[in-house]
Amino acid sequence: MVEDGYNFAYLDEQTKRMIRRAILKAVAIPGYQVPFGSREMPLPFGWGTGGIQVTASIIGPDDTLKVIDQGADDTVNAVSIRKFFARTAGVETTERTEAATIVQTRHRIPETPLGAGQILVYQVPIPEPLRWLEPRETETRKMHALQEYGPMHVRLYEDIAHFGHIATSYDYPVRVNGRYLMRPSPIPKFDNPKMDRSPALQLFGAGREKRIYAIPPHTEVRSLDFDDHPFEVQKWADVCAFCGSGDSFLDEIVTDDRGGRMFVCSDTDYCSRRREAGCTGPAMQAAGPGEA
């Protein structure tokens, strides 16, 4: 039920229309940053206001919402945002990726592949990929307009010169539809291939920087690289300690002050579903059956 005193999904209708117009434009020009009149939200800029405004503008009473933060459904930010929409829009919420129609995310793309009809909403801190090398907005816009993206490789060059490989591991720059250079928000580069030709619609909202951009379904997304240093994703020598998964993004958890550590899936939904299905990892096997 929508709580009394709120308009549906918190924002007023005119604001939602304005944001929808920006979203439509963003979808029409994949990767292009569309300015929009970002509103004050009941939480600070930097806590996901861009993503919340995008979600608020596209959500309907029949939608099912999932919110993740660093892959987890049960962290403060994810719980608060989920509760926010449950109160102000009265929508159903879920932790199951395939049951959601809208997934709002910070720092991860779910391991379970998204399907057609689903929408992934990213929270974006800094939308401009060229900002680190050019502080002027007028100049970065011009560089986008003229596709002057060569200097972006300088950063990758520096990585190889200093570390021997491309060490940038998150917010890894991509080229969308062969045209616009785009920052995928601080997701690990492990998730970059999931954006490529995804059947789901991907929307990016930057609240403080007042920009919205999008990747329409089935759009090509290429990560920048060098001919002799091709793009690669992270790999781990371990598997998830709980579910034994060897192909998901793993978080390293320090368990004591004597060098003890374990690796677990960052996607909590994916991990618990695998455990329900009977998969176990090293930690579970050591603890013995029946304790999971």
Binding site: H153, V154, Y157, D227
Partner: protein
């Protein structure tokens, strides 16, 4: 001196620049042929740098035209061609060496990346090749290739200036604009840099416009000279001719002001 068959690389006609009513430079015309070095001398505030910016597409003049002989499309007015074409010219066919290397370098990235940037900007995507070109150019400007991965802030002024020159020359430009390239360097470093510049310019057949207030620099590097005062060219001619037999009273003053140790 030049055979008529060879067209000038760059020609300025009546270049005039006012800064909101204040004169920058007035009615300057000249031509530069491929491989020629033109010196622009004059006192502080005489409009040398304004002129340099006007002819290098950095500052649109109030009046007058600047024509550049492009590689494929013949002469083009640099302020009438499309912006993408102009920006492409600026980072491939042209170089610009600032007086303060900090303005021309990316201080936050290594020397190698500074040299490689222009290559990457025109589409180089092979790390090994970029690295090779960077090593090559560090060597050409007589820098220790072992410092390739160091930041320019760890370099001395003379090294930074040489790095800036390497960064500009890596795309094999046809003309380089230099604004006081030896300013702020001590005399022995200046001498080495001048030596290097002279060698590079003649080896690569570069055309160059060098703005300087130092007549010794002008004499060493340039073939022809423009003497500027209060925004206007008061005298022009072959370098030796202007410096050894100045005609205009201001040129005479300028030449006689130099202290010979």
């Amino acid at each position: 001196m030049q055979p008529d068959a060879v067209p000038p690389l760059l020609s300025a006609r009546g270049v005039t620049k006012f800064y909101d009513g204040i004169l920058g430079c007035r009615d300057v015309s000249f031509e530069i042929w491929p491989g020629e070095v033109l010196g622009v001398v004059g006192e502080s505030g005489s409009g040398k740098t304004t002129l340099l910016h006007c002819i290098s597409a950095r500052l649109e003049p109030t009046a007058g035209t600047v024509e550049y002989m492009t590689r494929h499309d013949g002469p083009a007015d640099i302020y009438r061609i499309s912006e993408p074409a102009r920006r492409l010219l600026m980072r491939t066919d042209w170089g610009f060496v600032h007086q303060n290397p900090r303005e021309g370098l990316r201080m936050g990235v290594s020397a190698g990346a500074n040299i490689g940037e222009r290559l990457m900007a025109v589409g180089a995507r092979h790390y090994g090749n970029i690295r090779h070109a960077a090593t090559d150019w560090l060597d050409k400007v007589e820098m220790d290739t072992g410092r390739m991965d160091d930041l320019p802030i760890t370099f001395s002024g003379g090294m930074q200036q040489r790095l800036q020159i390497a960064r500009n020359l890596v795309t094999a430009p046809r003309i380089v604009f230099m604004d006081e390239p030896t300013g702020g360097l001590d005399v022995s470093v200046q001498a080495r840099l001048l030596d290097l510049l002279r060698g590079l310019v003649s080896d690569l057949g570069l055309a160059a416009v060098i703005v300087t207030h130092d007549l010794a620099v002008a004499r060493l590097l340039s073939h022809r000279l423009l003497v500027m005062r209060r925004g206007e060219v008061v005298e022009s001619g072959l370098t030796d001719q202007v410096l050894d037999d100045p005609q205009h009273p201001y040129s005479q003053l300028l030449v006689s002001s130099v202290i010979h140790p």
